[in-house]
């Protein structure tokens, strides 16, 4: 059994270019967050297109394995490229996808939306941001908590809607147990809260909704008036 809660907010921007979805089909569960980039409402169409295409492929897949996952991302990218043509835009989107089946989870991301895994008293960021700022962190040039403020934070090295450099990185988590949790979020959220705080709030919460509320209470204290769209999905296995 899975307890999940999702939240999205436009922030101080004119429109919300994040898209997200939560669905279940047969004995599989799907969670996606996507952060669109591009003016004139094209950003929200871009992320919407990606989420839609990924969900359709996920539902149609007989088996959700690496092949199905990569093929779905390819199809979603193609759909976005077609949309770009149609709208004469260069709008792009990140994507972070989590699929849970039984006691196994499959995660994938392109861009800088994130997926975290929590068990007992530990939290681990599963995905890596495809950004220049994250590369600087990996090379030791900056610390993890300096990523959000780095001037290169919005320079994405991989993103959906590119001819090349759209491919996701994929990860698996096996042996899932009751109490294990996941958090998916866009950068408008993770910029304002630390891993330790995400963990403490999970330990204080008895539901996915309460966990999200506690984290959002921290974030609301910190966001400036013109802050970015933010989105999150909390997932707790029972």
């Amino acid at each position: 059994m899975i307890d999940s809660f999702n939240f999205t907010n436009v922030g101080g921007r004119d429109e919300n270019q994040d898209s997200l979805t939560v669905m279940s089909d047969r004995n599989r569960n799907l969670f996606i967050v996507a952060d669109g980039l591009g003016g004139h409402q094209h950003g929200s169409q871009a992320s919407g297109c990606v989420v839609s295409a990924l969900s359709d492929c996920w539902r149609a897949a007989r088996v959700w394995n690496r092949d199905a996952l990569f093929s779905s991302f390819r199809q979603a990218n193609d759909a976005l490229l077609a949309l770009q043509n149609q709208l004469r835009t260069t709008a792009k989107s990140t994507a972070a996808l989590l699929s849970i089946e039984g006691n196994r989870a499959s995660c994938a991301n392109t861009g800088d939306s994130r997926i975290y895994f929590l068990r007992n008293s530990g939290i681990r960021m599963i995905t890596e941001d495809h950004s220049v700022a994250f590369k600087k962190y990996k090379s030791g040039e900056i610390n993890k908590d300096q990523i959000a403020a780095d001037e290169d934070q919005s320079s994405l090295l991989r993103v959906m809607g590119n001819d090349t450099r759209w491919e996701p990185e994929a990860y698996e988590v096996d042996g899932l147990r009751p109490g294990d949790s996941f958090l998916l979020c866009t950068d408008g959220f993770w910029e304002y809260i630390s891993d330790e705080e995400m963990l403490l709030d999970r330990l204080s919460a008895d539901t996915a909704r309460r966990w999200a509320q506690l984290m959002l209470l921290r974030v609301i204290e910190r966001v400036p008036a013109n802050h970015d769209n933010l989105s999150l999905i909390t997932v707790i296995l029972r």
Binding site: G12, S121, D145, L200, L203, S204, A205
Partner: protein, 278 residues
């Protein structure tokens, strides 16, 4: 007891005749504690605090260590009575705790029982906040009512562990659930800092609680304090203080910070510091 430091160790195991070192040598977690307290610019002290087992080395292993701070309100003697009652009910519950049963449930029950006692005694003319932490088998459980603070310094970074129960928090949550992240209006409310939950209120049913424990690491520092500290020192400054080497130095730095700011309305202040070491 400003800046006092007590070393709390588990008793070393007796060496067998072959003189092999005890299995736990160098491995067990020990807790070094310290505290500050002052009246600030107020007429009397309405904060109370206490430790359970702080000096009882063997008992820490069996029963854990407890740290409690309570910030009383109600003026005259009522505030002090309320916070004293809160501390003694919690410490009493701690001594009788069954560590094989749910600790969060027992901590919540203890907080509510403390609230009932305060209500009995003061009939609504006084109340108290509460923050308490139970350290046992290298894990931490906490309970909080009201707007006192529990801070954790982990990996050299300060985070707040509990969430205040006050009007600002309540209104912020309502905003969030209605789809807004803009607090401007809510911050203008003159009542924003009023607490919404306290020991001594009728019908207290909600506490802020770690429902699963936090695993402690060597180097972690916990601070339990009233808002005379948490509301008067910046988090940045508190972080610097808790980065000092020993609880005594941490407490000295906290005290020095409050004195040098010399705030016109400095509230009663109390802080307990617990440093985890191996």
């Amino acid at each position: 007891m400003a800046g006092a430091q007590t070393t709390v160790k588990s008793a070393p195991e007796k060496l067998p005749k072959t003189s092999m070192p005890p299995a736990s040598f160098g491995g067990k977690m020990i807790y070094v504690v310290g505290n500050i307290q002052g009246v600030g610019k107020r007429e009397q002290q309405e904060d109370s605090f206490g430790f359970g087992n702080a000096l009882d080395t063997g008992a820490i292993d069996r029963q854990g260590l407890m740290a409690v701070v309570a910030d009383g309100m109600g003026g005259m003697k009522n505030g002090k009575l309320a916070s004293d009652t809160a501390v003694s009910v919690i410490l009493d519950a701690f001594r009788r705790m069954d560590l094989r049963s749910s600790i969060p449930q027992q901590l919540q029950d203890a907080a509510i029982a403390a609230g009932d006692r305060v209500l009995d005694q003061l009939q609504g003319s006084g109340g108290s906040t509460l923050v308490a932490g139970l350290f046992y088998q290298e894990m931490l459980w906490t309970v909080s009512v009201g707007d006192s603070y529990i801070f954790l310094l982990h990996d050299r970074k300060l985070v707040r562990l509990n969430h205040s129960q006050n009007v600002l928090s309540r209104d912020s949550l309502e905003l969030i659930m209605n789809g807004s992240m803009d607090r401007t209006e809510v911050l203008r409310s003159p009542e924003k800092d009023a607490i919404t939950h306290f020991l001594g209120m009728p019908g207290l049913d909600e506490t802020d609680l770690l429902r699963s424990p936090l695993k402690l690491s060597a180097g972690d520092v916990l601070m339990f304090c009233s808002d005379g500290v948490g509301g008067f020192l910046s988090e940045r400054y508190i972080e610097e203080c808790l980065l000092e080497r020993t609880p005594k130095e941490m407490c000295d730095a906290l005290e020095a910070g409050l004195r040098s700011r010399d705030h016109k309305y400095q509230d009663n202040y109390t802080a307990l510091v617990v440093q985890c070491r191996r």
